[in-house]
Every structure is written in C-alpha cells, then in structure tokens.
C-alpha cells in the first residue's frame, strides 16, 4: 500500500516528528511504500542539517536523512514555510542573497502542489502535528 505522510510540527516540540518517523519506519518494515513525506508549517524545521542535539538525545533531522537514503524517500519541505523559518537550499539562498544554505541531505524544497500530488498518489494520508 502507498502511504503519504504529513508532518506539521517541528522536531523536539512535542512528539509529532518522533511519531511520524516511527510510523514511517514501521510502514517500510511491513513492505509498504511511502510516496512522500511532506513537511509543513514548523515541520520544515525537520529539514535543517545544522542541528546539534546532545549526544545522548535522538537526532531527528539526521534520522530522516538516513531513512531517506536507505529507502529512497522523497522528503519535501514547503517552500513558503521554509523561507519563513530559514530553511534554504543552495538555489534559494542564492536567490535571496543569503550567505549559506542548510537543507539536510535527502530533503528538497517545493510547493503545496507536492502535498496535493502525494494525496492523489497515496492510498492513505497520515498527518502528524501539534
């Protein structure tokens, strides 16, 4: 079965990012396909590679990148939400005259059309948020 996942909450806020990650792992372990994980609102903060959580804490951003690399996941952050929160790829950084970018490996920046498309492609959409 094809799943689409939406994450509306930032990492280390409450539990939504953790729940989404665990759900994604469990779905993949059962042989399901994840057509896309769409990060919206504060959820885009899952897509920065500059986080340095304490060594004894989980690293959510890194976990998403690792899961994406292992399973070829499409991790998409909403462009408007990302720009507001300072999550930029090289192209967006250049376009806005910023001196750095911070998008994490496996993530890409795109628009709400990707959320609509995920809902069309997926058999089930599961939303995690605040």
């Amino acid at each position: 079965m094809k799943f689409g996942i939406v994450v509306n909450e930032g990492p280390y806020t409450h539990q939504a990012s953790d729940s989404a990650l665990q759900f994604a792992r469990a779905a993949l372990a059962k042989g399901h396909e994840i057509v896309r994980v769409f990060f919206y609102n504060d959820g885009v903060n899952n897509g920065t590679r500059l986080t340095v959580p304490p060594q004894d804490d989980r690293n959510l951003q890194k976990s998403w990148s690792e899961l994406a690399a292992k399973h070829g996941l499409d991790l998409v952050v909403c462009i408007a939400a990302a720009q507001r929160r300072g999550v930029l790829d090289a192209g967006e950084a250049k376009r806005h005259g910023k001196d750095a970018d911070n998008i994490a490996p496996g993530f890409r920046i795109s628009g709400l059309g990707q959320l609509v498309e995920a809902a069309i492609l997926a058999d089930r959409m599961v939303t995690f948020g605040d």
Binding site: M1, H14, Q15, A16, Q22, A26, F128, G129
Partner: protein, 102 residues
C-alpha cells in the same frame, strides 16, 4: 468506507478526543497516540464518554506511548486494545482513510 481516527492530545488539554469520539461510526477505529493515551485511562472525568464510544467503534492506544507515560493495560478502560507502531500501520491500511484530529 470506514475511517481510522487518530488523536494525539490529552482530553484534559484539547477537545480533539471528545470531538472525535462524537464523530465515530460503526466500523471505524480510533487510535489514541502521544498524550491522548491519557484518555484511555479508567475513572477519569472523560471515562464515561470513552466507554460509550467503545460500544460504537474499536478503540486503541499506542503501547509505546502508554508505557512512556507510566501506564499499563490494567489502567485502561475495558475493551480498549493496545497496538505497536506496526499495528498503527495495519489499522491505517485496514480503514479506507485516516483522519488525524489535530
């Protein structure tokens, strides 16, 4: 056309669980995750509403979230079942759609 409802906030914090329980239909399932697992506890101020809903549809709690809050199956309202993340995935696959009550 059954629905899996998911709720992630305690009924003491948000109205989502009570709202969701008011919308469940026979054949649906409702899964309490994160802080919503508190809603599955016996003898709370919300227990009567949850017990009534348990007669209409299947109620579940996510076991790891239950354990993280120091609760066990013996603390749950009768008839509420526990699932792990794999069980969550199975419930999502079994029902026609998933409604997250955020």
């Amino acid at each position: 056309m059954s629905t899996l409802h998911t709720v992630n906030k305690s009924p003491f914090e948000r109205a989502a669980l009570i709202s969701a329980l008011g919308h469940v239909r026979p054949g649906d399932a409702l899964l309490m995750i994160e802080d919503a697992v508190v809603g599955a506890r016996k003898r709370t101020a919300f227990a009567a509403v949850v017990e009534a809903a348990a007669k209409i549809c299947a109620l579940f709690v996510l076991a790891p979230d239950l354990a993280a809050r120091g609760m066990a199956e013996k603390d749950l309202i009768e008839g509420i079942k526990t699932v792990d993340y794999g069980g969550f995935v199975d419930l999502a696959a079994k029902h026609r759609r998933v409604q997250s009550w955020l």
